[in-house]
């Protein structure tokens, strides 16, 4: 298609359904008579034009219904289209009636409450509440998570069938954990009408599945990772949102030594968080949950020891500015609706109609463990290079050393413009680094596999220079080169020898 054709197609698009000047129309006709491609394009556009008209035609019925019903409602309306003042005056008798009715209802509730003796009635044991929750078919609730001065909010739905859904502001994630061959995840981006299907493939069938391949139902015990834990005790009763609630509390334990369990609070190793649960006394189901973490206090360390004070002008006080106050919750679950999901499409991993579907290639389940870990180290090195200006670290452990990483992060993020935003950005980045560096942590502390590193003077981009290698069990050597590609070799790399 030449330039003339591009311009001509624009004119053809512009001519559809539009009365053109005769000269202009003739020019299009002449061009189309000589150019088969533009002629075909015009025919397709005209066909679209007819199809759109055909598509719109059946809606006459809908429009007719809209007309009929709207007119019916207007005719039946009690009110007249008065001005603002007129409307208020006209409503006064109704307002008085509604107020009287509301007062009567409130009085009735108070009386019923007193008769039922809600203040002195029995409360269920928390174990009974847990049992009832685990027998529920499904639940939907709102989650609010605090992270460095910002709240993330989303709605989560979970079902006994081990399918869950999270609705964020701009996307939705549905996870299906039922298959013994792997998990399926559907991510939807409504504004782009885009759906991504991701699959995790197991290299062996799942040990938690029954003979038919279904995951054994374990109720909704993974709902929060909190309520299933022991140690909740009844504290008080209170009336909240018009309901009678029993309030239970748990932790923190007296031993506050920070452990891995603190970074993964769903583990039972330590109870460092105080958890408060509100149970609706009528349904005996969870209605609200709040978590207070001592790690969120103003003097706590963040990944790589980042502190808000590092970003503040000297003499500023951090407390109460960006960080949570002591005893303020860092996670709140509320708006619980138990057994509320009736729409099957809500928990479906089938992309909706009209969405562009992309499929993510699943990770190879047969991938060697060493290769996987070497790639993890390469990712961590890539992050370091980003911070250091493409200079390799002297030692691989520099990547997890706060005294080495923190100054680089400060240089990257501390600009003195908006300390709060800079701190948040730095924290998010440090959190990401910390996650990427788990490869090093896992290899050395959990698998006891040494990492051999000799990249100190290497030049980034040198695809021949081996800078790091690991060897796990009977697997071959997995070598990282200075351009960060990973390769397997039966022999130890010479240039990386120690």
């Amino acid at each position: 298609m030449n330039v003339d054709c591009t311009e001509m197609r624009r004119r053809i698009e512009s001519s559809i359904g539009y009365a053109m000047e005769p000269d202009e129309r003739d020019e299009i006709e002449r061009h189309c008579a000589a150019c088969e491609s533009c002629r075909a394009y015009r025919d397709r556009l005209l066909s679209d034009h007819s199809r759109l008209a055909e598509f719109a035609a059946p809606r006459e019925e809908s429009i007719g219904r809209v007309q009929e019903r709207a007119i019916e409602r207007v005719r039946a309306a009690e009110w007249a289209p008065l001005g603002r003042a007129g409307r208020v005056v006209a409503r006064i008798p109704r307002i008085a009636t509604i107020a009287a009715a509301a007062a009567a209802v409130i009085i009735a509730f108070i009386v019923i409450d007193l008769i039922r003796g809600a203040a002195n009635g029995p409360v269920p044991a928390f174990a009974a509440v847990q049992e009832k929750m685990q027998k529920a078919d499904n639940v939907v609730y709102r989650v609010r998570l605090w992270n460095v001065g910002e709240w993330t909010t989303y709605t989560e739905g979970r079902a006994l069938s081990r399918i869950s859904r999270r609705d964020f502001e701009d996307s939705t994630v549905v996870k299906d954990l039922r298959s013994r061959l792997g998990n399926t995840e559907l991510r939807l981006y409504p504004s782009e009408r885009r759906a991504v299907i991701a699959r995790e493939v197991y290299n062996d069938t799942c040990s938690r599945c029954d003979a038919k391949g279904r995951k054994r139902p374990d109720g909704l015990s993974s709902l929060t990772g909190w309520y299933k834990q022991k140690g909740f005790s009844f504290v008080r009763k209170e009336r909240s949102h018009g309901r009678n609630m029993a309030v239970y509390e748990r932790g923190p334990s007296s031993d506050s030594t920070q452990t891995h369990g603190e970074r993964h609070p769903s583990s039972n190793s330590k109870q460092t968080h105080r958890v408060t649960a509100w149970v609706d006394l009528e349904t005996e189901l969870l209605a609200r949950l709040e978590v207070v973490s001592p790690r969120r206090g103003p003097n706590d360390a963040y990944p790589y020891s980042l502190r808000l004070n590092d970003f503040l002008p000297s003499g500023s006080k951090a407390a109460g500015w960006i960080e949570l106050k002591p005893n303020e919750p860092c996670m709140i679950l509320d708006n619980f609706r138990w057994n509320a999901i009736s729409d099957t499409s809500y928990l479906s991993t089938v992309p909706p109609a009209g969405y562009r579907v992309e499929t993510e290639k699943p990770e190879d389940p047969d991938e060697l463990s060493g290769y996987h870990h070497a790639r993890g180290i390469a990712r961590a090195l890539s992050n370091w290079l980003d911070l250091s200006g493409n200079v390799f670290p002297d030692d691989i452990h520099d990547l997890t050393d706060s005294t080495k990483v923190k100054p680089l992060i400060l240089v990257k993020f501390r600009r003195g413009v908006d300390p709060a935003e800079e701190f948040r950005a730095a924290y998010r980045y440090a959190d990401l680094l910390s996650g990427n560096n788990t490869a090093i942590w896992i290899l050395e502390r959990m698998l006891n596999t040494p990492i051999h590193y000799s990249g100190k003077d290497a030049v980034f981009g040198d695809s021949k220079r081996a800078i790091c290698w690991i060897k796990e069990g009977n697997e071959p050597y997995h070598i990282i080169y200075a351009d960060l590609h990973v390769a397997a070799s039966p022999t130890m790399p010479k240039s990386a020898g120690e």
């Binding site: 512009s14 539009y18 199809r51 809606r59 809209v66 709207a70 207007v74 289209p81 709605t155 499409s345």
Partner: protein, 176 residues
Amino acid sequence: MGDGPDRKLVEACMRGDREAYAGLVRLHAGRVYAVCLAIVGSEADAEDLAQEALVRGFMKIASLRDRDRFGPWIATVAGNLSRNFLRQRANQARLLSTQADCSGKEPESLSDLRRALWKLPEQHRIPLMLYYFDATSTESIAATLGISPKAVHMRLSRARGELRKLLENMEAHDER
């Protein structure tokens, strides 16, 4: 559909003449429905929202300053109502399932068209829907959207071009 005749009907309506409002509903229901459908995408929801917008129009007609511009005004009410509806709806699945249901009733060629139509950006989709669903002129669409007729013409042309590209991509994808 010109906006001139609206003035008499609007004035009669302000005096409490409900039949005059019925006249306005007959004139503008198509436009209101097209705006709602272009935003929410589901026929059932669009019907409900269009009906609601027209009833609200009656309640609030006293706040209409320019009595010749009932059409653009009610289209704005419908647009705001539809966008609020989308924002407030926590369960996105409802929309998606409804759309799927609707496409099932159509011939395949039209269901492709619907899918492509929904991939167009709102600023191109609304004029296109107004053009076909309300059989309006570019001038009338321009008044509804508060832009010039030339801009409407431009948006319609671009929308047709984009729609064609989307349909071709979908055809190519189906062939693979």
